[in-house]
Amino acid sequence: MTHMTVPATRPAVPAIIWPVAGAVILVLAVLGGVAIGETALPFDLVLKVLANNLLGASHQVNAIDAGILWSYRLPRVLVAAACGAGLALSGVVLQSLVRNALADPYLLGVSAGAGTGAVAVTILGLGGGVIGMSVGAFIGAASSFAMVVILARVAGGGSAQLVLAGIAGSQLFNALTSFLITRSANAEQARGIMYWLLGNLSGVRWPDTALAIPAAAIGLLACVWHARAMDAFSFGASAAASLGVSVRKVQVVLIGATTLMTATMVSLVGSIGFVGLVIPHAMRFVVGPRHGRLVLASALAGAVFLIAADIISRILIPGRVVPIGVVTALIGAPGFAMILVRNRRQA
């Protein structure tokens, strides 16, 4: 045999540049999210307030501006970033494990289930005040996902069956939510809940960051740790098993992390669609299908995307806040259409 060499694929820039660039982009997005709004705050003011609060500096700033910035905008932007990262990671996990390009927590009914759980706890007082809204959302998300997966398996286990089962699950749990609201909530509560369900970051305060950021961090850690296992799922669960992946364990850990992230985010900001669907696909274009990179890129892009969507939701109609779920759908639905067309070309 003649001697052959395989061309080495050597990166043009050192690998360390990507995490650094990612962190810089994220920080810039957060600063942008804090500065831009109905009251535009000048950049130096943003830096001064941050320095006052974080580094104990004592710059002279307007107390109202400082209050808006520190108590409202910053937690809101941080929660938006955590939600975006969490939802995008959920999409990456679901698309990998169920091997379906259309899998995402919104389409598979996980968000709807989380909504039902959260509403059940809030309105019915289910759990007697012992379990919080987030726990209710987690139980709801887990049950709806289990139902959808079982239904899809009973129906034949194909890709189409899973999406159809997801539609059935979403409809059922959305109907349950509406039923609960009509039965037990007064008009005021009902309007509040409906608004919240469309996705809304207006009510976010500091304590919410203590839920959102750890949830996203746990999810990110689980995904990074299992990135290679998700690669192994490319050719199906059985192929993954023959590559040495403990399929059941990985499924439990990753689906658990996804349910945790989705449930936490839905209980904090309502159900926000399309992030989990569109961001991972966009990132596959940029960094390729291998999960080592895809996981980090999707988390970053999801965070930046949701911060941007939140900014748009605040400035689109002056004097009003458009629900962020509406903004992500307005951007995401055409993105979804593009994925459908692209998938057809590949098939």
Binding site: M4, A229, D231, A241, S242, P289, Q346
Partner: protein, 264 residues
Amino acid sequence: MKLRAQSLGWTSGRKTVVDDVSLEIGSGETFGIVGPNGSGKSTLLRLLTGLLPRASGQVYLDDSPLTQLSRRAIAQRVAFVEQMADTTEALRVRDAVELGRTPWLSALAPFGPEDRRIVNDALVATDLVHLTDRTWSTLSGGERQRAHIARAVAQQPGLLILDEPTNHLDIHHQLSLLRLVSRLSVTVVMALHDLNQALRCDRLGIMEQGRLVACGSPAQVLTPQRIAAIFRVHVTPLHDPLDNTTLFRFHAFEDTPRHPFSVR
């Protein structure tokens, strides 16, 4: 790597797919499994990799029972190439072959230069160097099959299990694949459809309705009478003077009612 299976069985619903199969395969041996469609070949192969739940019987790899090894430990010893494993991901050939390193890596032992060398060798061995950067969806069936074989080679197993590896391959790649497999210093178990290819194995097992009905050297096992009984075709053994080997020509029962090995 030595392989021993003891009264393996598997049922799906009420149907017994594999029924009380015992066999022993020596280190470095190339063992072929033949049998008609639905005779349980694929299921037997999956049982040998420990991939099926609710199996009865036991498989031993070099005397360790499969049930006592972790999936990772099994994957470091056994590589399995299934039929028709496909993906919709835009993986490149190199990515797919790199998956073979999965059982040897962990979060603390990432993909390194040694792994890259092993992957490159596997690409060279399977004649895939010119396709290294092609994405999966642009590959032909045969190219995909070779990529799977390359992945299995990169796994550096002691035992390679192949389910009809020559399906979808043109004749050139069929022969070069069988040649590649026979030159690997590993134990090979493969299901084959082509009885002429099966003749080149060290030993053969014949499956019929879930049972291993014969096991031995190809000349012992593939007799015209047995082929007629199990595969429902007549064969005429022919002689190739080039390398002094025997090969088969097949005839439908209907066309050769007076064939010397007629079973009717």
